[in-house]
């Protein structure tokens, strides 16, 4: 028999289902949904993806005066269509202002077993108490919001990674939030609350990344696993950041028996030198 397959082969549609799903999960939900028009076979592939990702690209395409309404119409349609578990939810639209729709969505998702939650909207949004019922969470990234868990909150029992950027939170609330997550292995803090003292009690912590100095004194309790510490600064050092360079790092490093890798960037070193040696 002759080999004459001049007809080009559709290799992508013939990939195993799990491979197609993994490719689509690298895309924001809107782009994944757009594949529904490729062919009949692709019609409903996106509705079963366990990752929902909403970013600024779709937001920008709506008319300025009806963005919020259009965006939530879109988000609700996605949720109505969705089938199966939602293990990752990411909403990163820094210009989206606080509104009750967001509370509803976070509340709605509390039954879905979300394991990864990434959230950033316009600054000052108060995280609703329903987020603290996401007991399956393994990775949490919160930016520019106000965090105050309800008194009954007992911790995220499965959380291994937490990133807090530009959040508004009391030192005591932060301490208790961290200490209530017993499996926490990676912690990134990047905000400028002026804390006098912060005690971090996370017995499983392996990686601690401080992206800006924000505290005069940090103490780590039970640091037997903490192998990597990163202290970095943002690229542009503002004059008022010098206040935050006055951090007692000497005592901090004293308490780290398992420290294996320490990274400090140039910007941090510069401020450190200015504060501690030149001034």
């Amino acid at each position: 028999m002759e080999f004459a397959p001049l007809q080009p082969v559709d290799r992508i549609s013939n990939l195993p289902e799990n491979v197609i799903a993994d490719i689509l999960m690298c895309l924001p939900t809107r782009d994944a949904a757009s594949t529904s028009i490729l062919s009949k076979q692709w019609r409903y592939k996106w509705v079963k993806l366990p990752h929902l990702i909403f970013d600024v690209t779709v937001w920008q395409e709506f008319k300025v005066d009806e963005r919020t309404m259009r965006f939530f119409l879109f988000l609700y349609q996605v949720l109505l269509r969705h089938q199966g578990p939602i293990t990752k939810f990411s909403l990163v639209i820094p210009r989206l202002k606080s509104c009750s729709h967001i509370d509803h969505v976070i509340n709605f998702l509390s039954n879905y077993g979300v394991e990864e939650f990434i959230f950033e909207i316009y600054k000052g949004y108060r995280i609703p108490s329903s987020l603290f019922m996401y007991l399956q969470l393994k990775r949490l990234t919160l930016s520019a919001c106000l965090i105050n868990p309800p008194p009954a909150f007992k911790g995220f029992n499965r959380l291994v990674r937490m990133e807090l950027c530009d959040v508004i939170i009391d030192a005591e609330v932060l301490q208790s939030l961290i200490s209530s997550c017993l499996l926490l292995e990676q912690l990134l803090l990047d905000f400028r609350n002026e804390f006098d003292f912060l005690e971090i009690d996370a017995p499983m912590l392996r990686l601690f990344h401080l992206r800006r100095f924000f505290c005069s004194s940090i103490c780590i309790k039970r640091s037997q696993h903490l192998a990597t510490v990163r202290v970095t600064s943002r690229q542009h050092i503002m004059a008022d950041e010098f206040n935050y360079g006055n951090c007692n790092f000497v005592g901090f490093f004293d308490s780290l028996p398992a420290l294996h890798k320490l990274c400090m960037d140039f910007h941090f070193m510069l401020v450190w030198l200015i504060i501690n040696i030149i001034m």
């Binding site: 080009p8 082969v9 559709d10 290799r11 992508i12 549609s13 990939l15 195993p16 799990n18 491979v19 993994d22 490719i23 689509l24 999960m25 690298c26 895309l27 924001p28 809107r30 782009d31 949904a33 757009s34 594949t35 529904s36 028009i37 490729l38 062919s39 009949k40 076979q41 692709w42 019609r43 779709v58 395409e61 259009r70 119409l73 879109f74 349609q77 890798k261």
Partner: protein
């Protein structure tokens, strides 16, 4: 063939592709193929391993990828430099046509090489993201089997999804 003393120092495995081409690889490369890793680590691997789903053209690329990753990670350079080096290598490595990319993705899934699988998935996703649906169909030879009416209905239903 190397002498037996050398063999005990540096174990070598022979990987046979679908089309019968045999590749000699060191253990540090072979263990990156999770599908055979357990066999190797448990010392149960025959020196000759057939990989039925991978052609020689693709297996050669997979081995090149694993070799570079193994060498960079054991090279004694600092982690940051190694990361940068791998990033540059990965970017250049992904500079292949979409058919090779699909085959690499498929092979990485079959051979269970997590980093290569994620890399190819991300690259394929970016090819889809930057194109209109008509361009995606053309690029991957996906036949549009919707009737005009059906396609119009889907487009209307998910109007927000289309650029």
């Amino acid at each position: 063939m190397s002498s037996s003393t050398e063999l005990t120092e540096k174990k070598v495995f022979l990987l046979k592709s679908l089309d019968g081409v045999i590749f000699e690889v060191e253990e540090s490369v072979a263990v990156q193929l999770e599908v055979i890793r357990e066999l190797i680590e448990g010392d149960c691997a025959r020196p000759f391993i057939s990989l039925y789903n991978v052609t020689s053209e693709i297996l050669a690329l997979v081995i090149e990828y694993c070799k570079h990753h193994a060498e960079t990670c054991s090279g004694g350079t600092s982690a940051t430099i190694a990361d940068e080096d791998l990033k540059t290598f990965d970017n250049e490595f992904m500079n292949v046509d979409e058919n090779i990319l699909l085959e690499l993705c498929s092979a990485a899934d079959y051979l269970d090489i997590k980093s290569l699988f994620e890399l190819t998935c991300r690259t394929l996703a970016s090819l889809i993201k930057d194109r209109t649906i008509i361009e995606v169909r053309k690029m991957f030879n996906v036949e549009n089997d919707f009737s005009v009416v059906e396609e119009k209905a889907v487009r209307k239903e998910f109007a927000w999804a289309f650029k």
